[in-house]
Point group: C2
Chain length 244, copies 2
């Protein structure tokens, strides 16, 4: 079972303060790009793997989805998500994404935001996704970019001329990385982008789009700290589909 | 028209000394991985975009290809390639990859090694490739990895503990990069991996495999300088296919 860092009190406290927790999707600068990768949700059956506070689940219903399921490992996150809606077409389910069971041929859209880098491998889940999607169904997800996750010590370095670089090493050494983001000892998994894409392809999915997300100039103007995301991608957004 | 750096005397001299020029495919450590991405070439019609000395063209014939065309911008490279074979089924053609004309539905396999990062954009060529491939045909190519090409100044940096990092910046700033590899003023183009993959997908190709190439331990043992290629990918190998 994957680490349930979200129920760690320090992590939960920190997470609750993030713009994307307080403001929801509007606090996530990659959301407009991720939203543009979604198919029309009208009348669709949708699942969100790692739903957190359920911001996407509620948005999917506003975008016309007929049924939405939010899955998360964290009891605290699901409790908060449940408080935030009384929509009978939104269902919350507590599960680890590693032991998750999905019904064959049952879903039009599988969505996941910033959750899959907590999984040690993607082959198993990719196979389940391919089975669970209806023909023509879509997978749309974001995860931390391997340029961001790879290094032995994540951070910026400055050369003799004062120019900043994001440090990359150990790129080929896939596996566990321990960070101290919000709490000590947060376990994530580094995989090359090739490994992620090949897992989808081997499962039988067709890659539709790969977006190594960076901010627009308007976003940088509005939120100057985003400028560094133009220097190195922190996130990758991927869409894939099951053949008709 | 793309820069024809290969006919620059200093570049040509330097290039002629590289292991991959002297030893051919055996001097290219990524060749076993790239070869593994090729379909069976028996009886196939094959083209090599940026064929250089024609090492791959000759290898393709040995692997059973029925007709092989090598395309290159450099007159000197093609002259040398022509000297190295008397195989009537290998044809050499001088062309810039930007103005190249390919016959519709004429090719089983389109191959390219370390050439496409010299092109300012890939949308046009991807469209031509999709048209030129027969149904079920394959594209297999290598190019410089964007992690390698992106930075304002390519190089390694060392942190306070003596750990080395490859410096990444300007990742989202696609476009021209000037390097002084073998000769001054060599023009290459940086594109995100997403942009490359999306160009293929938009042209109608189906991505089959993405390999952000790194050396095996046996290769590092035999050729210790390759160790740094495990720290950051210098090359990406990609295969795609046209639907049946």
């Amino acid at each position: 079972m994957a680490q349930n860092i979200y129920d760690n009190p320090a992590f939960f406290e920190g997470y609750a303060q993030l713009p994307r927790s307080v403001q929801g999707l509007d606090g996530a600068p990659e959301w407009p790009a991720l939203k543009a990768m979604l198919p029309d949700l009208t009348g669709k059956s949708v699942i969100d793997l790692g739903c957190g506070y359920g911001w996407f689940c509620r948005a999917a219903r506003e975008m016309g989805a007929s049924e939405v399921t939010g899955v998360d490992i964290s009891e605290k996150m699901l409790a908060r998500a449940a408080e935030l809606t009384d929509d009978a077409r939104i269902h919350y389910q507590r599960s680890d994404l590693e032991s998750l069971i999905l019904q064959s041929n049952s879903l039009d859209v599988i969505y996941s935001s910033l959750a899959l880098h907590y999984l040690p491998e993607l082959d198993t889940l990719s196979g389940k996704i391919q089975q669970a999607l209806k023909p023509g169904g879509s997978l749309v997800f974001s995860m931390e970019h391997p340029i961001y996750t790879c290094a032995t010590r994540q951070g910026w370095l400055t050369d003799d001329s004062g120019v900043r670089y994001w440090g990359v090493n150990q790129y080929q050494a896939e596996g566990q990385r321990v960070s101290n983001w919000l709490a000590d000892g947060v376990i994530k998994y580094h995989r090359t982008l090739g490994t992620t894409l090949n897992a989808l392809i081997k499962a039988g999915l067709i890659v539709s789009e790969v977006n190594e997300w960076g901010p627009t100039q308007a976003q940088i103007d509005a939120w100057p700290a985003l400028a560094e995301e133009a220097e190195r991608p922190m996130l990758v957004l991927i869409s894939a589909r099951k053949a008709q």
